[in-house]
Symmetry: C2
Subunit: 391 residues, 2 copies
């Protein structure tokens, strides 16, 4: 049930002292091969953190030996000095791994991906980080997945892990993220391991297919992060090469599981909201309409107040260019069609929004496509956590 579930991986968690709480804050996941295939997706944000700028280069050749992650600081918007810290982390991890490995199994810095999470706009303490990485290398073990998943937590209230068992191969994953969950990408730190034997092209295709249907459709608060990374590493240690369909399905299941754990632990949220738009003319129309609703603060406040306020849904859909006729829109909360043909439908008193899970369905009556975006409500606690975050 972790990144060390598949064969060929070791992991660890360590405490570098980057967090004021003194909780573990450095994680390491190492691929022991025989294959070092990797694929990654990164945030679409043009203002990227230093570890993203570094890891984009590391992943370009489809080969990654290890990934070092830290919480307690995002190393974002920290300029050349911050980039040097990222680079030093990779160098140091590579040296330590090479020193502890059998002769001939050297790891180069350019094969070590780096991920960081925490406050942005503040320098990381480089000395503490490197000391923590030394400890992380020393602690590596083939059941260290849980420790790694714990060390990457920030405002997460629980470690997030998932797995998938194939026929003779498996996938394991861990994730962190409890805010800034938004669109068009990764939007969190995720490391996924597999012992399937994959080439880099197959890994990349599968990862893009899986993330586009899962992480890309999470939109907790509309805010796109600066550090988001989803990294897939494949050791080939099972000796099995699943079909593209088999592997993509398993990977998508793991990504979906982790994504739902992220939404379920979003900062201050009291409701997890699945917004499904059906009978859209195109997939993009369905996504656009669903995302417009997911980003509407008035709608999100209404759900917090357990109010099936369908008018705010129509007002949100009305801002899109999706094909629909305002006079024929239907909207349901948890299966109760409170809006029919753009007007008053069943009584909203029939809707029970006391449970955490909320399903909103919007029928555009314009075609055969559908899509779902997952979001959260907007609560007092969200405002509180995000106004007090850096103090």
């Amino acid at each position: 049930m972790s990144v060390t579930t598949p064969l060929g991986f070791r992991a660890s968690g360590a405490t570098a002292g980057l967090k004021p709480s003194g909780n573990p804050d450095v994680a390491l996941v190492v691929n022991d091969g025989p294959s070092f295939t990797a694929a990654a997706v990164f945030t679409d944000n043009r203002c990227k953190a230093n570890p993203v700028l570094w890891s984009e280069q590391v992943c370009k050749d489809g080969q990654v030996r290890a990934v070092a992650l830290n919480s307690g600081g995002a190393n974002c918007y920290t300029g050349p000095e911050g980039f040097q810290t990222t680079h030093a982390s990779a160098e140091h991890t590579a040296q330590q791994l090479t020193a502890s490995a059998v002769p001939g199994a050297a790891t180069a810095a350019i094969d070590v991906a780096i991920c960081s999470t925490g406050l942005i706009g503040e320098l990381l303490d480089r000395d503490k980080l490197l000391t923590g990485l030394t400890e992380a290398v020393a602690k590596l073990s083939d059941d260290g997945g849980q420790a790694a998943a714990t060390a990457i937590m920030t405002t997460d209230t629980r470690a997030k892990q998932a797995k998938h068992a194939g026929a003779g191969w498996s996938i394991g994953g861990m994730a962190k993220g409890a805010g800034m969950l938004a669109p068009s990408l990764a939007t969190m730190l995720v490391v996924i391991t597999t012992d399937a034997a994959l080439d880099p092209v197959a890994a990349d295709l599968a990862l893009r297919a899986a993330t586009s249907a899962t992480f890309d459709r999470l939109d907790s608060d509309g805010c796109m992060s600066t550090n988001d990374t989803v990294l897939l590493m494949a050791s080939g240690a099972s000796g099995v090469t699943p079909t593209h369909e088999e592997f993509t399905a398993g990977l998508t299941a793991v990504c979906h599981d982790l994504g739902q754990q992220l939404i379920g632990d979003a900062e201050g949220a009291e409701h997890d909201i699945a917004i499904e738009v059906v009978h859209a003319a195109t997939q993009q129309d369905a996504l656009d309409a669903a995302r417009a609703i997911a980003r509407n603060n008035l709608f999100k406040c209404a759900v917090f107040g357990k109010d099936a306020n369908w008018g705010r849904i129509l007002a949100a859909v009305g801002t899109t260019r999706a094909a629909f006729d305002p006079a024929t829109l239907d909207v349901a909360f948890n299966g109760v069609w409170v809006c029919r043909d753009g007007g008053i439908g069943e009584s909203r008193d029939l809707v029970d929004l006391s449970r955490r899970q909320v399903e909103v369905t919007v029928d555009l009556k314009a075609g055969q496509e559908s899509a779902t975006i997952w979001t959260n409500d907007l609560t007092h606690a969200y405002v509180h956590e995000n106004s007090a975050y850096s103090t």
Copy 2:
């Protein structure tokens, strides 16, 4: 200082009983001529309220005799029955005005614009509304502007009015709006009167120029309304025709004044934030970057917490396609440049965010254009008001 400041207008407020509070809820503004020139801008939302669908038709010929407004119900997403209520309001107002006028000065329903505000998705009580309109016609007076401005309030805490004095002509205006203030248009109910002598083309040109630089740049909470209307009526009673530049400048000043009153009274807000983007390659780039910041919930929460969190500003700007280099961005809060060249600048401890007014400046270093978007912070009170709104 009201819609009855210019010559040729009467106005009134009345109580139809549409509001549970029993406060005034019907307003009427009548143009007594000699000219009946009008221009209007409406919400861009594709899901429009019934009064907007009606008033779009009324304003098409550039002639409006009167506008009847009600609070206590938006008559939005109320289907054919709701549209009939709007139509009946115009018919009834026209009949009452004709009956009370000198012989020969008949008003037709198609010259009566209708505006409604309040909850959406609920039917208005037609009988109460018509009775209130009868009272409003009876109460019309040439100093009724204040009463009209008071009757259109919903969650507004104060009536909003403005004026401009030209050389022998004047402009008066009133507005309501305290939430759902967003982009691309009107986004509130605004009635502006002038005794300048204007033809419909001149009125339309001036109104579009004025609103594009003012109301279109308010983005309190990113939520586009369904009922937004800005209506300009010109009586020509002064006999003066100002130049296009003179009139547009005066109209823009009135719109700016009303817009700032709206931002200053936004639901639950504790800060009014002016986001100015400078040295943009294009005006659109400046607007896109400023609007991305204005809609970033994490940024808005930070300002509520009096935290000059410039990292969230960079993360927001990074989601746009504006021309800029992430490594050279500068950001200031109230003149303190806390971010220099995409990294740490002056200490954020130098920034005092205790005052209601906050100025954020972002220097894209990509050209010579600039633009400002006005927004509010995201507070506990905003969440509370908008989650409890319909209960």
